[in-house]
């Protein structure tokens, strides 16, 4: 169906807005507006502001303050793996959408 070339489009990273679709497959609410606290440096901010690297197998989201990994998401054929070791907490606004 498609003429595919190289592995990426241009640019080095996107931001957490790009996690909206992949996370919405797992969670019933939008998580990009949720606020996370980085386990490494303690910075707190919306998931939408994380730096998202899609080059890896899966998505790697890094803290915009210290660049440590906050979240990893890998989608397999029958399951999704979500690694949140880099986040101390995530505060999810409810009833907003």
């Amino acid at each position: 169906m498609t003429p595919f070339h190289g592995p990426y489009d241009d640019g080095d990273y996107a931001d957490g807005n790009a996690l909206a679709g992949p996370l919405r497959e797992i969670f019933a609410v939008d998580l990009t507006a949720a606020s996370g606290r980085c386990a490494h440096c303690g910075a707190e901010g919306p998931v939408a502001l994380l730096r998202v690297y899609a080059h890896a197998p899966g998505l790697v989201a890094r803290c915009p303050s210290c660049t440590e990994v906050v979240m990893r998401l890998v989608r397999g054929p029958n399951s999704a793996w979500l690694d949140l070791r880099g986040a101390t907490s995530i505060r999810i606004p409810l009833g907003v959408e």
């Binding site: 190289g6 489009d9 241009d10 679709g21 992949p22 939008d30 990009t32 080059h55």
Partner: protein, 237 residues
């Protein structure tokens, strides 16, 4: 499953795809969809595209900037034909969105095809009869790269409370006062709302552009929580 019903050339490298999506639930301006392409051998890949249109029944418009070595955008821009199916997921995103019930003034800053989700906000504003005051600052390389040029010209005239200003980074139109240059502090200060007005600020464009503009807005005294950004990257438009 969506279907392409029409395509429009916006610039030499950008196309608007008009899709019909049965059971589309509606969307907020600023939201995006994830478009998935699957090859015959089963390899599949997806990209996020901002929605360009205001919510309107089952009709949905995306504007796709062709990235020449990209995997997805050349296919959408050049190959996909009217009547072809398109696999998409959405609408998604709940942070980089404007709600027409919000009455605060709005500053929009677009770099290149970063205009797309901001145009959805401009279109929704009028469709919803919002009186929120909007200022749009749009940075393009050359006049030929200006997406929605005609529509922006007529909206700047007809949409009461909408101001539109341009910055040309490579080549300015004939008769333009000043030289082509990158967008700077003076542009944001002159064409955006002052921080005292507590505007909602939306910035969309390539990563470097967005970071520069966000830093300028913060330096001008805007609260970080009122500055919402969306960057293009490997999975962006």
């Amino acid at each position: 499953m969506a279907r392409l019903v029409e395509r429009r050339a916006e610039t030499p490298s950008a196309q608007t795809l008009v899709l019909d999506v049965p059971d589309w639930p509606g969307h907020l301006p600023g939201q995006h969809v994830d478009v998935r392409l699957t090859a015959e051998d089963g390899y599949s890949t997806q990209r996020s595209y901002s929605i360009a249109s205001a919510s309107d029944g089952s009709r949905l418009e995306l504007t796709v900037q062709r990235v020449d070595d990209g995997e997805v955008s050349p296919y959408l821009a050049d190959v996909l034909a009217v009547g072809d199916p398109v696999e998409l997921r959405g609408p998604v995103g709940g942070w980089f969105v404007w709600r027409h019930t919000d009455t605060a003034p709005v500053t929009l800053v677009a770099g290149g095809s970063g205009i797309v989700p901001l145009m959805a906000m401009v279109r929704t504003r009028r469709a919803a009869g919002s009186k929120a005051l909007f200022r749009l600052l749009y940075s393009v390389r050359t006049p030929q790269d200006c997406i929605y040029a005609d529509e922006l010209r007529s909206r700047a005239r007809d949409d009461f409370g909408l101001d539109v200003a341009y910055v040309y980074s490579r080549q300015a139109p004939q008769g333009w006062p000043g030289e082509p240059r990158r967008l700077g502090v003076a542009d944001v200060n002159t064409h955006g709302w002052p921080a005292d007005f507590q505007p909602a600020c939306f910035v969309c464009g390539p990563t470097g552009f967005v970071e520069t503009v966000a830093d300028i807005l913060i330096a001008l005294g805007h609260e970080p929580r009122r500055v919402r950004t969306e960057r293009f990257g490997p999975s962006g438009p």
